[in-house]
Amino acid sequence: MRDRFGLGWRAKLALGILSNLDRIDIVEVIADDYFRAPHRERRALRTLGAQTPVTLHGVSLGMASSVLVETKRLDEMARLCDEVSPVSWSEHLAFVRGGGIEIGHLAAPPRSAATVDGAIANLRRARKIVGVAPQVENVATLIDPPGSDRDEATWVSEIILHSDSDLLLDLHNLHANSINFNFDPVDYITRIPPERIGAIHLAGGKWIGRPDARRLLDDHLHDVPDPVYQLLEKVGACATRPLTVILERDGNFPPIEWLLEQLDRARRAVARGRTRRSAVAA
């Protein structure tokens, strides 16, 4: 089984990434940064794609909504995928706007039949327009979305089981939500169909809020904490398909070697999980 390990492409990491492609299997690029980018920047992205496998990651479509994603937004993703030929593309199970109000970031929608149905409809349209179904990512949230009538593992499973989209399982989002809302992240993982886990995100975060009401914020500015590697090993033991594992870092950048060491630690965690899986199967 050939798992892949890579980094999120950020301008301040570009030199470090390009200098270490022998230690990086794949690069994840934020698609939205290129929708209206000048020709030279899109050409640079194609050049990157010629040097290393690229996966495109969307942040603004708003797939998990009872409202249909606008066709023009899906057309932009389709054009970029045509240009770059990524190995995959992904979006979040989030809503990002409502009634003309732009939230400006990812928000967890109410976990209800309406957003399950809406997400499935949006993912079908996305597959039709882009040509390939996106992987879908679980999001972190600081608030349990009002109007929710089911837990997150149930909601995510319903969406992936009724669409062609596999799960991009963000383990820090899962870790943060499990702490903020007091559920067992291992139970969550075991309730996801293991054959539908296709990719993993790793990141870090920080505590915010009053001491008596604090929350763990997924901020992509800190190192991956130990519990996330433990969850990664668990996923390595249960996922039946090759995984693409991406380390996300959006700022407070350490030396590239520090990030590569975290990537190596991720490789070891998945390898331990794979070994456990093989031992059970033998």
Binding site: S66, V67, G100, I101, A107, P109
Partner: protein, 67 residues
């Protein structure tokens, strides 16, 4: 239709300080005025206020590129 109204309502109180203040001052009244169903009104008035303030602050920081 009512599901999109709920998303619109949530988007408003997440990003608009004025809408959020009105809601926190009169949760049932504002939710009803927004046309939410009776069940949705009951859901939103039980909102986690600490979480709402933290989320709103986090979204504000992200929109302005602050960490």
């Amino acid at each position: 239709m009512n599901d999109s109204r709920l998303e619109t309502f949530l988007a408003g109180i997440y990003v608009d300080p004025g809408a959020r203040a009105k809601f926190l001052a009169n949760p049932r009244g504002e939710a009803t005025r927004a046309g939410l169903t009776a069940q949705q009104v009951e859901d939103v008035i039980k909102i986690d206020r600490d979480g709402l303030e933290l989320l709103a602050d986090s979204l504000e920081r992200k929109r302005h590129g602050r960490k």
